[in-house]
């Protein structure tokens, strides 16, 4: 243990706690003890404090007790003549720092000065916005993100569990140059690592650097600017703490378990760019308590393995001394070292194209002003079609292009595009065609500077000027598809060939062939029922976060996250027979109406660490499926209305049961089985087996409006199938009722069927 680091971290902690105390006291005088303290849209209060202590900070008056707790964790700096083993003291100081930083941010929120709005010295001359979501550049000002909200945390859940997002990197400070800053972000993005930005050096932050270079910041690109001081780095630890509470089902206040959970399951690390001051050391000490190491690009003392983190605790890699031909190569080595130090396992997709590639680019938006060309959308038609062919009709790696290529187009132009992908393989089945084809969206979106939407004959692709400028042409779409299909579906596909055409006549001709196949597939899927198969599938992906959670996926029900249906699981099992999707024999029918079978019961008992003994697939009231943390929506009993409400993950509003989505999800998640409460994939709503044992769609008394509107045609069909074409508009939403008192008169006025159905219990 380095005395230098201990001294700096302990001193930094003292300074931070003292300043937090001053800030809280000043805010108390000014705003009073009842002034609300709340981070954006979270059910976890000030999350680090809540996770470690169980204290629910809701108002300024709650903060002095937290400051006292932080003070109790402080120690004197090591003296000059007595060198004790001060690891424990340093780690305590780290936690004290995190408490103080969070209390400080709480006081800032109370004052309305968080999330930060920063002034840009070098606003882009073209005035373009390069941020997503709420982030925005207005003139020379930019609003930063502040803490991650619960909706986003849960939306990333599935990517965290399936390995697309292997971990997160909290960058603090400022890179050697803008070029290096961009390269760091690109290296991390191409590995799917989530990036949190905070801190500054000499007043300049990596946030400034990335903004100047036109890098899209925001949730969509996995690159989130927290704030330009180190204090805001506490949001990264808040994210980690909430992962344990949300996905791990940990109880708040169980600090030790939460720290161990993070050490073993959350692959995170801190990258300190530029000089390291006392507060950075102190914050890093807090991160080390979570098991997250720090890698610095300057010369600082190192802390080698002692067991708190998995490998080294603090690693110094002075940037200019990293061997390499230039700064780009040095950056690659720096990031590679970060991966080793944290033990992050990353699968990098190697795709032979002239731009970067990775899942972090999936959310990029290509707006008109930065677009070079588009295919599909309003101005042309485009489709994607994958079909299985006999082996002798497919030449692996063959990519053909007909019609005008991108370099033959005017800037801002549009052309039709047809993409026909032929595959062959001994284990390939026609059933897998739509599964592979659906992945095109992710495969293509992974290209830097490409935005892809839709699928089948409503595909729409945009290419940015910079990606075109780097030499991206139509054949590269083929290369991406070829490489990714081999990588992801290598076990079932042996050969892949791709034909691309922008020739209108050819597109029109091939689109008709594709449409016949689309119609056949629809038919096949519609005929796929739980009764028509004797095997269901499991999904255990979420066990990496919620150890007792098991999804049983039947043909008529998607997984809670909405990302896996029965066919996906079947294909996944073929691809990886020892993977997370295993066949579950239906076995004996115990109760056909409730959907209870002996096979799923046995499987779930064995695979939930014996925590869950039985499960019914068509009921929420009796032994429902367990809920992990990444469900798309949550369904909850409203006893007064004799029905259920469904709240979508995107809906932040209050609901008739007195809780928002986040609070509800916190109650039901973490792998628990809670009768009357259940996470669900939104397309389960359209299934004939949708809580069929409890009365189906007619029991839904309240539904988030965004779900209703985005799924209106499909839901309307369900209502018609149930013989009540006007049912959808009898269901309340947050615009008409956020309390039971508002809900009941609405249901009565509309004559909602749930009110006269059999009592639920």
């Amino acid at each position: 243990m380095s005395r230098y680091i201990a001294t700096r971290a302990i001193r930094g902690a003292q300074g931070m706690v003292r300043e937090a105390e001053e800030a809280v006291n000043a805010a108390l005088v000014e705003l009073g003890p009842d002034a609300p303290v709340a981070f954006t849209n979270t059910a976890y209060y000030l999350p680090v404090i809540y996770a470690f202590t169980g204290e629910k900070v809701e108002k300024l008056g709650d903060l002095p007790a937290i400051i006292e707790r932080a003070k109790n964790l402080l120690h004197p700096v090591p003296s000059n003549n007595m060198w004790l083993p001060y690891l424990g003291e340093t780690l305590d100081s780290g936690i004290a720092t995190l408490f103080a930083e969070e209390a400080m941010e709480g006081a800032r929120f109370a004052r309305g000065t968080e999330p930060q709005v920063i002034k840009l010295d070098h606003a882009r001359a073209d005035g373009a916005r390069f941020t997503g979501g709420d982030l925005g550049v207005h003139g020379d000002k930019m609003k930063l993100n502040g803490p991650i909200d619960d909706i986003q945390l849960r939306a990333w859940g599935i990517q965290l569990v399936d390995g697309r997002m292997p971990g997160f990197c909290a960058i603090v400070g400022c890179a050697k140059s803008n070029e290096v800053a961009v390269k760091i972000v690109r290296e991390l993005q191409s590995r799917g690592i989530l990036i949190f930005l905070s801190g500054n050096v000499n007043g300049r932050s990596i946030i400034h650097q990335l903004q100047e270079e036109g890098i899209q910041l925001g949730y969509d690109t996995f690159t989130v600017p927290f704030g330009i001081d180190t204090i805001s780095a506490v949001y990264a630890l808040g994210f980690a703490a909430r992962s344990a509470l949300t996905f791990g089902g940990m109880d708040a206040g169980n600090a030790r378990k939460i720290m161990l959970y993070n050490k073993y399951r959350v692959f995170a690390f801190v990258l300190a760019l530029g000089e390291v001051d006392d507060l950075k050391y102190a914050t890093a000490a807090g991160a080390i308590s979570f098991g997250f190491p720090t890698i610095a690009d300057t010369r600082i003392p190192q802390i080698l393995p002692t067991g708190v983190t998995t490998y080294e605790h603090v690693v110094s890699m002075p940037f200019d001394e990293i061997p390499g031909a230039d700064d780009m190569e040095r950056t690659e080595k720096l990031i590679q070292r970060c991966m080793e130090v944290r033990g992050v396992k990353v699968k990098i997709a190697k795709v032979p194209i002239p731009v970067s590639y990775g899942s972090a680019f999936e959310g990029e938006r290509i707006r008109k002003d930065i677009m070079y060309a588009e295919f599909g959308g309003k101005r042309s038609n485009a489709f994607e079609f994958l079909r299985m062919k006999p082996a002798d009709e497919v030449e692996d790696g063959k990519i053909t292009v007909s019609g005008t290529d991108i370099d033959g187009m005017e800037e801002g132009g549009a052309l039709p595009l047809g993409m026909v992908v032929d595959v062959s393989g001994r284990k390939m089945q026609t059933d897998f065609e739509p599964i592979l084809e659906r992945q095109f969206h992710y495969f293509i979106n992974g290209v830097e500077g490409i935005q892809h939407n839709g699928q089948r004959d409503i595909a729409w692709t945009r290419i940015s000027k910079s990606t075109f400028g780097k030499g991206f042409r139509l054949e590269h779409f083929g290369k991406v598809i070829h490489a990714r299909i081999h990588e992801v579906f290598g076990n079932i596909v042996d050969k892949v060939q791709v034909h691309l055409t922008t020739d209108q006549a050819e597109v029109d001709e091939l689109i008709e062939v594709a449409r016949v196949a689309y119609a056949e597939r629809n038919e096949r899927i519609a005929n796929l029922t739980d009764e028509s198969v004797d095997t269901f599938y499991s999904c255990l992906l979420c066990q990496s976060f919620a150890p007792n959670h098991v999804c049983v996926i039947n043909p008529e029900r998607v997984g809670l996250c909405g990302a896996y249906n029965w066919l996906d699981c079947k294909a996944s099992y073929e691809i990886n027979p020892t993977g997370p999707n295993q066949p579950v024999a239906k076995g004996l029918v115990i109760d056909a109406e409730k959907g209870e079978f002996s096979g799923p019961n046995e499987y779930i008992y064995q695979n939930s660490n014996q925590a869950v003994e039985r499960v019914t697939l068509y009921s929420i009231m009796e032994a429902p499926l367990t809920s992990c943390g990444c469900f798309e929506a949550i369904m909850v009993l409203v006893p007064e209305a004799n029905g259920f409400m469904i709240v979508s993950r995107e809906d932040p509003s209050m609901t008739p049961c007195g809780m928002t989505f986040s609070t509800l999800a916190g109650t039901a998640g973490g792998g628990m089985q809670t009768p009357g409460m259940m996470g669900m994939g939104k397309y389960y709503l359209t299934s004939k087996k949708f809580i069929s044992a409890d009365g189906g769609m007619k029991r839904i008394v309240w539904l988030s409006s965004n779900l209703r509107e985005s799924m209106r045609p499909a839901l309307q069909e369900v209502c018609e199938r149930e013989g009540m074409p006007d049912l959808l508009d009898k269901i309340a939403d947050e615009t008409v009722a956020t309390t039971v008192e508002d809900l009941l008169p609405f249901l009565e006025e509309k004559g909602h069927p749930a009110l006269t159905m059999d009592p639920l219990f």
Partner: protein, 107 residues
């Protein structure tokens, strides 16, 4: 323009760097050339025709960032022992930590 380097002990973390730089952001006769939270050093250039080190120091002090001595850069509330409620504590340490700590004592 004249150059000036000052020790500002209160500038011990990067949020203070932002605050200190902000003080001179719009000043035409003072330009901050460097502000380091690591060693609490502020480097600037000023126009001697309109300002001087005393005025600059006064401006800093008024904003809560008094100029100090190099030794003060390590200033911390340790000088108020009553503020530290935990005191020195004996911690069980991994023996591997002890073995390795020797290498790093030079720091």
């Amino acid at each position: 323009m004249e150059q000036l380097a000052l020790i500002v002990p209160g500038m011990w973390a990067d949020h203070h760097v932002i605050a200190v730089r902000g003080l001179f952001r719009d000043a035409e006769d003072i330009q901050v050339t460097g502000a380091s939270a690591m060693d609490a050093t502020l480097c600037l250039e000023y126009d001697p025709a309109t300002t001087d080190p005393q005025k600059i120091a006064a401006q800093l002090e008024q904003a809560g960032y008094a100029v100090g001595e190099a030794a003060d850069a390590a200033n911390s509330p340790t000088d108020k022992p009553e503020w530290l409620t935990a005191g020195v504590r004996v911690t069980a340490t991994d023996p591997a930590d002890l073995t390795m700590s020797g290498d790093h004592r030079k720091y």
